[in-house]
């Protein structure tokens, strides 16, 4: 074996050993419970009674403090028969109590609307929703969709600040947070999960 061979072996061994240790021993963020960087679900969807309901900002608009938000609610009957569902859309805001508080204050309801939807077989309807309220500045804003049960009460946390609604009972249709964004001054577009750029933004803003 020549000196050149030994040099090559030594160099390769050193490089491989270094890479092995660095790769396997360096503490790092890994995603063992699937890749966290991608959205699993691009468009949050409330499914009840065979009807799938999604929500997006009207005309893909980006909301900021002071705006009166308008939304498009899209309902799709996935059944080959007529279907109907009663849902509640709730616009909420929350903010830190102070920089020292552990968690944000309880969300405050800014607006909510009950909507009854009746669809023919495989029909799709798009409804306009006007929140008629001005978005406060420096708040986390969320829009929840939940089914209104036969008892006339939302089955899930349309407003997490309402103890009577803050549950997700087994067997009920869980509500969803359809949109979430902030009204912090410089950044954060509205997180319509259905907009072109929405998928990643929606997840970035979902907390």
């Amino acid at each position: 074996m020549k000196t050149k061979d030994l040099l090559t072996i030594g160099t390769a061994a050193l490089g491989t050993a270094t890479l092995t240790v660095l790769f396997l021993a360096t503490p790092r963020m890994t995603g063992t419970d699937t890749n966290p960087t991608t959205a699993t679900i691009a468009t949050p969807k409330l499914a009840a009674n065979g009807i799938e309901v999604t929500l997006s900002p009207a005309n893909g608009r980006e909301f900021k403090a002071g705006d009166q938000p308008e939304f498009e609610l899209r309902a799709v009957n996935t059944l080959n028969e007529p279907a109907e569902v009663a849902i509640c859309a709730t616009l909420s805001s929350s903010s830190p109590f102070s920089a020292m508080s552990r968690i944000p204050m309880m969300p405050a309801t800014l607006w909510h609307q009950d909507i009854e939807i009746a669809l023919k077989p495989n029909e799709t309807k798009v409804l306009a929703l006007d929140a008629r309220t001005n978005l406060p500045a420096n708040r986390e804003i969320s829009v929840s969709l939940s089914q209104v049960s036969q008892a006339g009460k939302t089955t899930v946390a349309g407003n997490p600040g309402n103890p009577a609604a803050a549950f997700m009972l087994q067997g009920s249709v869980p509500g969803i947070v359809a949109l979430r964004f902030s009204t912090a001054p410089p950044k954060t577009a509205p997180t319509a999960a259905t907009t072109t750029s929405g998928a990643s933004v929606a997840i970035a803003a979902l907390r």
């Binding site: 061994a13 021993a25 020292m100 946390a157 103890p163 549950f167 869980p174 902030s182």
Partner: protein, 383 residues
């Protein structure tokens, strides 16, 4: 051109690298595996983590002083601070302690609440690394710069601890305080499902499966619960015994001037609780629902006084504790609140009846910020 010399060298290098990892107590398989979630009620506390930010000095000073001052010398407390002056401030704040303090400097803003930042997963093997399991993101980080910094704390700790710990980012959104674990079960706040459903998971079943895969214990998702972290209203003390807060019990222990309906003004002033105490049937129902579900799960439930405020966030709670063992002795680090002596005494009696040695921690300045002792301290390792 690839030659035999290169292949031989690579093989030797791989063998040497693996040997180094084995000698340092790390194996390649551990890069993707971990053991069960750390129990909050079993074993002796060995390594803890607190966060300290000087602007919160008044909030945490008494609690840290009491708690750290009671720890033994064989306990290590990792102190996460934004910079060295903050750590120096912390050291002067807590005074003389017997436990070992270990600074971890982040060089970015943080809050002072450690519990919610991550959850400790035990090593998959005795020589393995602890997994610091962080949520996908933090609440309100867009409007809260310190909270955005909190998101990086899991990585900061793992980097500081070398091969003893590794940081893992979850696909799920959660706060550490949304979980309560013992040796058998992990209780989960309903709001975690709410944060994830139709975003990171399709539905309830996916959520439970995904969570159980990581925590490696039975997952019990609470159906109904107060809208807060679990440590504010329940504590598993081991042996399938669960303490659950009871507002009515709290109400019965208020000083006479706050009892009854003739003193609404006074009641509102009790302990400076925002909006006054919340003894409404709706809130009582949520606490009772937790107790009922624990009973249905096979736990023996003991009720303990709690006084929640009308803001839904501020609690005078006696389950926001840290549990420890010293041989056969079971120890509870129990919050107390100056001005609520009757409640304090009643809560202490409950813990003592369960066989715990009580070490009191002054949380008078802490509870107004929506958290307490358990929320300030995270546990990395128990023996």
């Amino acid at each position: 051109m690839f030659r035999w010399q290169t292949a031989l060298g690579a093989a030797i290098g791989l063998a040497v690298g693996l040997a180094i990892l084995a000698l340092t107590g790390r194996s390649p398989g551990e890069a993707t595996t971990s053991g069960p979630i750390l129990s909050e009620c079993e074993g002796r506390m060995r390594e803890l983590v607190v966060q300290y930010e000087p602007s919160s000095k008044e909030v945490v000073a008494a609690a840290y002083r009491d708690f750290l001052g009671a720890l033994d010398p064989d306990v290590t407390v990792h102190v996460v601070c934004p910079d060295r002056p903050a750590y120096d401030d912390f050291v002067s704040l807590v005074g003389v302690v017997r436990c070992r303090l270990d600074p971890i400097l982040t060089h970015h803003p943080i809050t002072t609440w450690s519990r919610d930042r991550w959850v400790a997963l035990t090593p998959a093997s005795p020589a393995g690394a602890i997994t610091i399991w962080s949520p996908r993101g933090e609440s309100a980080e867009d409007i809260w710069p310190a909270r955005a910094g909190d998101e990086r704390v899991g990585e900061d700790i793992a980097a500081a601890m070398g091969s003893a710990a590794r940081a893992v980012r979850s696909r799920l959104y959660f706060d550490g305080g949304d979980f309560l674990s013992d040796n058998d079960n992990v209780f989960v706040a309903p709001r975690v499902l709410q944060r994830n459903i139709q975003h990171t998971v399709a539905g309830r079943k996916d959520f439970l499966t995904s969570l159980a895969t990581v925590v490696k214990r039975r997952v019990i998702l609470l159906d109904e619960a107060p809208e807060h972290h679990l440590g504010m209203f329940m504590a598993s003390v081991g042996g399938h015994v669960m303490l659950v807060g009871d507002p009515q019990l709290g109400k019965s222990l208020l000083p006479p001037q706050f009892q009854g309906g003739n003193w609404p003004g006074s009641l509102r002033e009790f302990m400076d609780l925002p909006g006054g105490p919340d003894f409404t049937p709706e809130t009582q129902h949520l606490f009772d629902a937790v107790a009922e579900q624990c009973t249905a799960t096979g736990y023996r439930v003991t009720r303990i006084p709690v006084v929640p405020a009308m803001d839904g966030r501020t609690y005078l709670t006696y389950v926001n504790v840290l549990l420890d063992r010293a041989g056969d002795r079971r120890i509870v680090y129990l919050p107390y609140y100056r001005g609520a002596e009757t409640l304090n005494s009643a809560a202490r009696a409950v813990w003592e009846q369960l066989g715990f040695e009580v070490r009191l921690v002054d949380c008078t300045a802490t509870y107004r910020h929506f958290g307490c002792l358990h929320c300030l301290v995270n546990v990395l390792k128990r023996s």
